[in-house]
């Protein structure tokens, strides 16, 4: 119920931002959508991506659209705009890819399906109707639920980030004085492995790793 109220209570931010977007007030639209909720929905993330693209900030557009892609994997508009934003950048390494199943379902949807299967299996076992099938469903649902929980935790701990505003210098250690490994241009998509102080350890689409300043990377979620 709390989730429902939260979602319903803030949904006016979406049309409000669209009105500002249509009037050409991109900064206002971005501010409205960004402040709508602590955890952006797929719609908000997509709309922010569109607004940033229109404002010419392709790296932030890519970051928001990657976040939207995670929540709305089957949305063709998200994939279209993401490909469009990427095509506007030059000299950027290939993006970090996510596991193939995330292109079809989200971890949350998998969790809901697991919950349903578990409940059905439990009911069958309880009702003594088809205990064998019920036990199998129960086990399958718990297994799928464990996988979904693990996948969700992995996504939260290792989000995708995008280099914004300027080149990101990747170093050997989380120290401004350590050796420089490589430089990533704005728009490069990386996976954040962990953080230490003001630095984050990232890996780009070519498997190259290094410590980058945390303020040079915007997390997609």
């Amino acid at each position: 119920m709390m989730f429902l109220l939260t979602g319903l209570a803030c949904s006016s931010a979406v049309p409000e931002g669209v009105a500002q977007f249509d009037a050409g007030k991109l900064d206002d639209a971005i501010h409205t959508w960004d402040g709508a909720s602590e955890h952006h929905s797929g719609v908000i993330a997509y709309n922010l991506g569109v607004a940033y693209y229109r404002a010419g900030d392709l790296p932030r557009a890519i970051a928001e659209l990657r976040g939207a892609s995670r929540l709305r994997p089957r949305d063709a508009n998200v994939q279209h705009n993401l490909a469009l934003a990427r095509s506007g950048l030059q000299g950027v390494p290939p993006p970090v890819t996510a596991p193939g199943w995330t292109l079809i379902v989200t971890a949350g949807e998998l969790g809901l399906v697991a919950l349903l299967i578990t409940a059905v299996g439990s009911a069958l076992v309880w009702g003594a109707r088809a205990r064998g099938a019920g036990a199998a469903l129960l086990a399958g649902g718990l297994g799928l639920g464990a996988f979904a929980a693990r996948a969700s935790a992995d996504e939260d701990q290792h989000p995708i980030g995008v280099v914004v505003d300027g080149e990101a210098v990747l170093r050997d250690a989380a120290d401004i004085n350590s050796g420089e490994r490589l430089r990533l241009p704005p728009g490069a998509e990386v996976r954040v492995e962990r953080s230490l102080g003001d630095f984050v350890l990232v890996q780009d689409g070519r498997g190259r790793r290094g410590w980058a300043p945390a303020n040079a990377i915007v997390a997609a979620w």
Partner: protein
């Protein structure tokens, strides 16, 4: 084998290669040479016969055919066949000698040709007075401990042993300032060298390519080898016992120099490379307006070509499209070689003479220690007007050509608009999922647990009550009591009668009589319940029966 396929696969044609292991021998030793033929099963012509090809050698070496093998591999989704012909190579005279080339006749009438290789034979030193050579040893080193940033170095780790059956496991340290390239995998090879003084020496050799990604003096630590040496004969079930010994190398360090300030046009490539270019004009001598010309640029060399991209190319009166690229890397002998093939399509748009400008890029040459400009020249073309005929439309790799944006204009693809409605927040189910799953599963798990516990208890009861299995005893009648009250009291009656028949019952006559009265009262009297009767009966039976 995978590395060989990866390197040869980039060229997509039947390839013949000669490899010597080791490439350096001492006079009197015997090593091995392989002739490897890689072909794609469907498209390439195949060797006309399965006989081993003739392997010519110079007078300082002698080759003798030792065997052959054939296997299949997968390179970029294409099935490739690898035929390997093995030869024993004896080092007769010191010097540098040529092995090969090898010519393989194909079934389409052509001949596949391999390049020859060089094998070095060193003079045999005089026998040392220091005693017999060691049983095993390792030799670990970088091919070049002084590197430039971005250069590929090769770590060579070699294990040699005279002990038959000895095995080695390598422990490689975490690299400091070095990392594996994206393309190209470490290789490991096993071969034997026969030496007239030392006998047969088995060699395990590992080569690891590493890219220098930092600068300064970098300590890599040591490489450790765990050697398992068989001891004694076969034990139970023929598993031989073995003793384990550990050997470590000397400390490995590399000095990585930063690159000098780069000139404009530096593409980030560090390595000694050669560039080849081919412009396919089809079978015609003239080029027409709108004709697609496939332009292939191949860069080969010692560098890590993972992230290397050719610079953008633009030419007047020409559209340029990117058709993709392939990269591969593998060891060719001791050297790490990478290959990158870039394909572009040029489409002339106006008739007349067409002078295509050269493509240049700058790479850093570690051998020379300086930047080298590589220039790819293209021929001048004469473009004739195209004929207005219907033809299939080809598209290459994306919507827009590679010409600069100012010339081609904004992309025709439109941005999809924002959504006018929807939820703003996205609360996550993840923190609550384990608890919700537990709640959903709880009823079913409780039932399953109860069923399982009942089964376990029944099994335990059957296992721990052997005396009650005797049907002639009172305790046997009290094990599986029926649920029906009438039948249950009848069973109590029967158990009490059995207990009375026991020899020890005389000492409990009063208790038996009291239970008999209580039983009669419940079964045939006022039928008032007697909840403690069963426990009292069980206690009496336990006392009476031994």
């Amino acid at each position: 084998m995978t590395g060989l396929l990866a390197l040869i696969g980039a060229a997509h044609a039947l390839q013949v290669q000669i490899r010597a292991e080791p490439p350096v021998l001492t006079q009197g030793q015997t090593g091995s040479v392989s002739v490897v033929i890689v072909s794609e099963g469907r498209t390439d012509a195949q060797p006309a016969s399965g006989r081993p090809p003739r392997l010519p050698t110079e007078r300082g070496l002698a080759a003798e055919f030792a065997g052959q093998a054939s296997e299949f591999g997968n390179v970029n989704g294409r099935i490739s066949r690898v035929q390997r012909f093995e030869y024993r190579l004896s080092a007769i005279e010191d010097g540098t000698w040529t092995v090969g080339p090898v010519d393989v006749p194909l079934d389409d009438g052509t001949i596949a040709h391999s390049e020859p290789i060089r094998v070095v034979v060193n003079d045999r030193p005089s026998a040392s007075a220091g005693g017999p050579p060691p049983e095993f040893g390792i030799d670990v080193k970088f091919d070049d401990p002084t590197l430039w940033e971005g250069q590929v170095a090769v770590l060579q780790a070699k294990f040699q042993t005279r002990l038959p059956g000895a095995q080695v496991g390598w422990r490689i340290p975490d690299w400091d300032g070095l990392q594996l390239p994206q393309q190209g995998q470490p290789t490991q090879s096993d071969y034997a060298v026969t030496d007239p003084e030392m006998g047969t020496v088995a060699v395990n050799e590992v080569r690891i390519p590493l890219v220098a990604v930092a600068t300064g003096r970098r300590d890599q630590g040591v490489v450790a080898a765990e050697v398992t040496i068989p001891v004694g004969g076969g034990g139970l079930f023929a598993f031989a016992r073995g003793r384990v010994e550990h050997v470590v190398s000397e400390r490995l360090t590399v000095d990585i120099q930063p690159l000098p300030p780069a000139p404009s046009g530096f593409a980030g490539l560090v390595g000694d490379v050669e560039v080849e270019s081919a412009l396919d004009r089809g079978r015609k001598d003239t080029v027409a307006v709108g004709q697609s010309l496939e332009w292939t640029v191949t860069v080969r060399g010692s560098g890590a070509l993972d992230g290397f991209e050719l610079p953008a190319y633009a030419a007047a009166k020409t559209l340029v499209y990117d058709k993709g690229s392939d990269r591969a890397a593998a060891f060719a002998g001791d050297a790490f070689r990478g290959t990158a093939t870039f394909r572009r399509v040029l489409v002339p748009t106006e008739p007349g003479p067409l002078a295509l400008p050269p493509l240049t890029f700058v790479a850093f040459s570690p051998a020379k220690g300086e930047y080298v400009t590589h220039t790819v020249d293209l021929p001048q073309l004469e473009v004739v007007p195209g004929e207005p005929v219907a033809s299939a439309i080809q598209s290459f790799g994306g919507a827009a050509p590679l010409a600069p944006a100012a010339e081609s204009g904004p992309p025709a693809v439109e941005l999809r608009p924002p959504y006018p409605s929807g939820r703003a927040g996205s609360p996550s189910l993840a923190p609550f999922l384990p608890a919700l799953l537990g709640l959903a599963a709880a009823p079913g798990l409780a039932v399953l647990s109860r069923l399982g516990a009942r089964r376990v208890a029944a099994a335990a009861k059957r296992r721990w009550a052997p005396r009650a299995a005797d049907p002639g005893r009172a305790s046997a009648l009290l094990v599986d009591l029926p649920d029906d009250p009438e039948a249950r009291w009848a069973a109590f009656d029967a158990a009490l009668r059995r207990a009375e028949a026991e020899p020890a019952a005389a000492a409990h006559a009063e208790a038996i009589r009291a239970l008999r009265l209580r039983l009669g009262r419940v079964r045939f009297g006022d039928e008032r319940p007697d909840p403690t009767f069963e426990d009292d009966l069980r206690a009496l039976v336990a006392e009476i029966e031994p």
